[in-house]
Symmetry: C2
């Protein structure tokens, strides 16, 4: 019997969900409610790729070897240090008769559930990847469970662009939910993928003042050029006092989109009493956030950025289609 | 110049807030806006004490030696593995002329900001502690900043009881905020300190069905005897499928109060779409929560349990005074 959440693919330890598993069964045969994808490209989570690149001093061959080893050992791509994964793009190869996902053989799709819980096997040794970017060309297969989420890729957008957008599509959808009309909003990492989408989502949700915080003057120029924030400030988000000063008057909503550790305190300091902090960065420390707010006697609501919000894929793709500044930033990152 | 959040006490690394610091300056001389406390007792965070006890195989002498070493090295009590601390009780020894905390020399107080950011020095070698419980009799001093929180201990409650309640007083206050009248609520770890208070808070906030989940039949009997939940179930919270089965019909609000790692997925599975999970456990993994919800395509709001909510101390002490079942559970733990 197969489980809608993939329990039957967990090899070790027993009883956990696939995301918590050390090792998954990535066999290509599918159960009646599963779907097999012929994989074309992986998109590694930013925190994961950064950790690997730093660990290996930017040596692409060693990064590639470690990613291959992780996938081979674990039956999935989950960075053992950051715990994060990423997503993938591919073509539907076989659909079990009981799959509820509505996919058809031949559909070109992106998976919207994390690689950390997706059974994955690679057969080409990643020969097409230089180990120097998050986007990994790849031959192999991946498995979707009954309770997975996949989006058919739109015809009107470059697939690499669509993949980059879908990878972070939970952030703008949740930002749009949290921001009330007139609310002031700061996005830390505002020139990045999830950051620029979150700024656009905040404005569309009726935000008042919007602030984009970025780490360098170069990113500030990019974000100013994109016109997504009323105010653009440069600060090291790991320096709480500097971050709060960059934001200025404390805001109603702070959205953290930078994948470096240690941004929790600054985000809390930058947020007004009664406000909300949304943490999308996988580098967020739960204890640092909880104890930081307590230690600052800060009455703020802190949300764990859930990557799933109903309708998130269409919402994010719509922003990229309709907000030129967002599209420009994404296309600039892809060097299309 | 002293900083209201204690930046002037940070020795290393530069620029971080006291909670993130490796080392604090615990000198006894106070700035004009600080307060010095003559310490009487520490109450170690449950996750921290559990880690220390397990590491040392329950050897109290070695646990004591490590706690002494941490305090001596770091100038604060912050477990380097769990990142958590606890709180303390003592008597106000000196109040700077510019302190806004409203304390007076001689007040018996509990600090409501974490030990992880409180400058602390111990002078008795912890000779009065056997290393076998979270409550640590102690001679020494601690420093409060301008933006700290301390509660004067009530006259009508045993100070050990008050300390145990104040240590977790953020949980019932935030639970009361999140629970809407008629909402179904599950509390994982319902017989514990924060768990029993959260169950009582949920009922006071008008919850419909309440479920308390506990790990053993012995705790189930205790919780049933206290009468705090409509339904008491035994399950290993680290087993997502078992936890969800124990809760039954998915609930509107799940409150996680067990200090063991790996409870994120079960809490998400036990929560209805559109519901809320509040994580109070310091053992919570941010990545496991974020990726778990995404991987389960679960539309749940996940809150980082902020230990500070205005009025939290009075609210929790009120529950202990007015709900006999809560008081009974707390007194049973203290073996008064």
């Amino acid at each position: 019997m197969s489980s809608p959440v993939g329990l039957h693919r967990v090899l070790a330890p027993a009883g956990v969900l696939p995301q918590a598993a050390q090792r998954l069964d990535a066999r290509s045969e599918i159960s009646a409610d599963e779907v097999r994808i012929a994989v074309e490209r992986l998109n590694l989570d930013a925190a994961s790729f950064r950790q690997l690149a730093q660990k290996h001093g930017g040596d692409g061959d060693r990064v590639r070897a470690e990613v291959l080893d992780i996938i081979g050992t674990r039956g999935k791509m989950q960075n053992p240090v950051t715990g994060s994964g990423g997503m993938l793009i591919g073509t539907v190869d076989e659909v079990g008769p009981d799959s509820p996902l509505g996919l058809t053989k031949g559909d070109r799709v992106a998976t919207l559930v994390s690689l950390t819980l997706t059974p994955l096997a690679v057969t080409d040794g990643l020969v097409g990847w230089d180990g120097r970017s998050e986007q990994v060309p790849c031959v192999g297969h991946a498995i979707l469970f009954a309770r997975s989420v996949a989006a058919v890729l739109p015809d009107d957008l470059d697939p690499r662009l669509a993949l980059a957008v879908l990878d972070v599509c939970g952030a703008p959808a949740l930002t749009a939910r949290v921001v009330r009309p007139g609310a002031s909003v700061a996005v830390v990492g505002g020139a990045g993928k999830s950051g620029s989408l979150s700024l656009a989502a905040a404005r569309r949700a009726g935000a008042g003042r919007t602030v984009g915080v970025v780490p360098t003057q170069a990113e500030a120029a990019l974000l100013r050029g994109a016109g997504l924030a009323d105010h653009v400030a440069v600060a090291d988000a790991r320096d709480p006092v500097a971050l709060a000063a960059a934001v200025g008057e404390p805001v109603d909503v702070t959205v953290v989109c930078v994948d470096v550790p240690g941004c929790e305190h600054g985000a809390i300091l930058a947020t007004a009493d009664g406000g909300t902090v949304v943490f999308f960065s996988m580098a967020t420390s739960f204890a640092a956030a909880a104890l930081g707010a307590e230690g600052l006697a800060a009455d703020v609501t802190m949300l764990v950025g859930n990557g799933y919000v109903p309708g998130h894929a269409e919402y994010a793709l719509g922003l990229v289609r309709e907000v030129p500044g967002v599209r420009k930033l994404f296309e600039g990152r892809l060097t299309l």
